[in-house]
């Protein structure tokens, strides 16, 4: 569905380094990373809003460098909650917006408005944060997008609104025809619905596989301080030491029977946190 090959973008103090990944059709992919890891820059580069220095983006078989406009008519993207023309009625702005999309499905749009309890006569500034996100999602879906790219759609939403939105995502991919890529730093959202995880740190791709694989190939271990031997230190991904104990993240394959540790299933947050404590950093 979406293929990113060797994406590079250099800024003075930051760069995206050779990021490559592929998004299969019909799944939800979560894009995680700390603030400033390059999530937004990567997404904007994919959309050619930021011009990559090098790399190739292919969406549904079309090259972004060649068919940018055709591609953009067929995908939906939202880089933040809808808050442009906030003082205008939704109907007015959308009336202009929809002219740009030849595949616009007015009936679907009306259905989404109903489903999300959005009223076209309201002004965008009168909507709650969650509603603004839902409006963006409604717009993306009504243009019959086969791929949805969303930057931090759940940040700023309360747990109820987040849960509703995640349910919308699950519904979108249920038919197997549409894919969702969304970035977030709220990793628990992904545990509930993502199929694949892309994790970047400091502009570099760290992990890119099925969520279940990632969760099962890592262990969170903890133990007494003296259990953190030199050998163990070399095998863990990252660790935290206190005066009384230590905790660390380790690849399941790298643990040995001699390690005197308590093993737990990590969550994505642990994985993100400990990868950011990696020894080489």
């Amino acid at each position: 569905m979406l293929k990113v090959e060797n994406l590079c973008k250099n800024y003075e103090y930051f760069s995206i380094k050779n990021v490559s990944f592929e998004l299969p059709k019909g799944y939800i992919t979560g894009f995680i990373g700390a603030n400033g890891a390059g999530k937004t820059t990567t997404l904007k580069s994919i959309l050619n809003l930021v011009h990559p220095d090098s790399g190739k983006i292919t969406i549904a078989g079309k090259d972004m460098g060649v068919d940018e406009i055709a591609i953009k008519r067929e995908i939906g993207f939202m880089l933040g909650p809808v808050d442009y023309y906030a003082k205008s009625r939704i109907g007015k702005t959308v009336g202009v917006y929809k002219r740009f999309f030849p595949n616009w499905d007015e009936q679907a749009y009306k259905n989404y408005l109903d489903k999300f309890s959005l009223n076209e006569n309201k002004k965008i500034c009168e909507l709650s944060a969650g509603m603004k996100v839902k409006l963006g999602v409604a717009l993306a879906l009504s243009q019959n997008a086969k791929l949805l790219i969303l930057d931090e759609p759940t940040s700023g939403l309360d747990p109820v609104a987040r849960d509703e939105l995640l349910d919308v995502f699950r519904e979108i991919v249920e038919s197997g025809e549409r894919s969702v890529l969304f970035s977030t730093h709220i990793t628990s959202d992904l545990e509930k619905c993502a199929d694949f995880i892309i994790f970047i740190r400091n502009g570099e791709l760290i992990l890119n596989s099925a969520k279940d694989d990632i969760m099962e190939s890592h262990l969170l271990i903890s133990g007494r301080k003296d259990a953190l031997t030199q050998s163990l230190k070399e095998r863990v991904i990252g660790f935290k030491e206190t005066a009384y104990n230590f905790t660390a993240l380790i690849k399941t394959d790298n643990i040995i029977a001699d390690d005197e540790v308590i093993k737990e299933k990590p969550n994505l947050e642990d994985i993100m946190v400990y990868y950011n404590k990696e020894k080489s950093l």
């Binding site: 019909g26 799944y27 939800i28 995640l166 349910d167 699950r170 519904e171 991919v173 249920e174 038919s175 197997g176 545990e191 509930k192 619905c193 993502a194 199929d195 694949f196 099925a210 969520k211 279940d212 969760m215 099962e216 737990e264 299933k265």
Partner: protein
């Protein structure tokens, strides 16, 4: 079909799914020919990943609890009584095996464990 998922459990969700469906098949709650929900609709209903459900179905298929027909979905396999018996034993053995290291760690001998099992069963 009843499925109860715990996201807090240390057991991977795909394994939880596998265990629950396989045991329901073994006891006959899910009868031969029963049409399982599609991977995608089950994922949506349970609020879990599609890949997670796919993995569980793959395990079930590998262990011949279910079979899938292209474009039609997944169905519970036919068993005769003998096979069903074997399956139940297999499941039970698997579960027991999981806990053996724990008993060994406690220093419980096989005899002690057998006695305990008799008493507790």
């Amino acid at each position: 079909m009843d499925i109860v998922i715990s996201s807090k459990s240390d057991k991977p969700i795909s394994l939880q799914l596998y265990e629950q469906i396989s045991s329901q098949i073994a006891v006959g709650d899910l009868y031969p020919g029963y049409s399982l929900p599609s991977v995608r609709s089950l994922a949506r209903e349970l609020g879990i990943g599609i890949v997670t459900v796919q993995r569980a179905y793959e395990m079930l298929e590998a262990e011949q609890f279910i079979y899938s027909k292209q474009g039609k979905g997944s169905f519970v396999c036919q068993f005769d009584n003998k096979e069903l018996d074997e399956t139940k034993k297999r499941l039970a053995a698997k579960k027991l095996k999981e806990n053996i290291p724990y008993y060994k760690n406690l220093g419980i001998s096989l005899e002690q464990l057998t006695q305990l099992l008799k008493r507790e069963y």
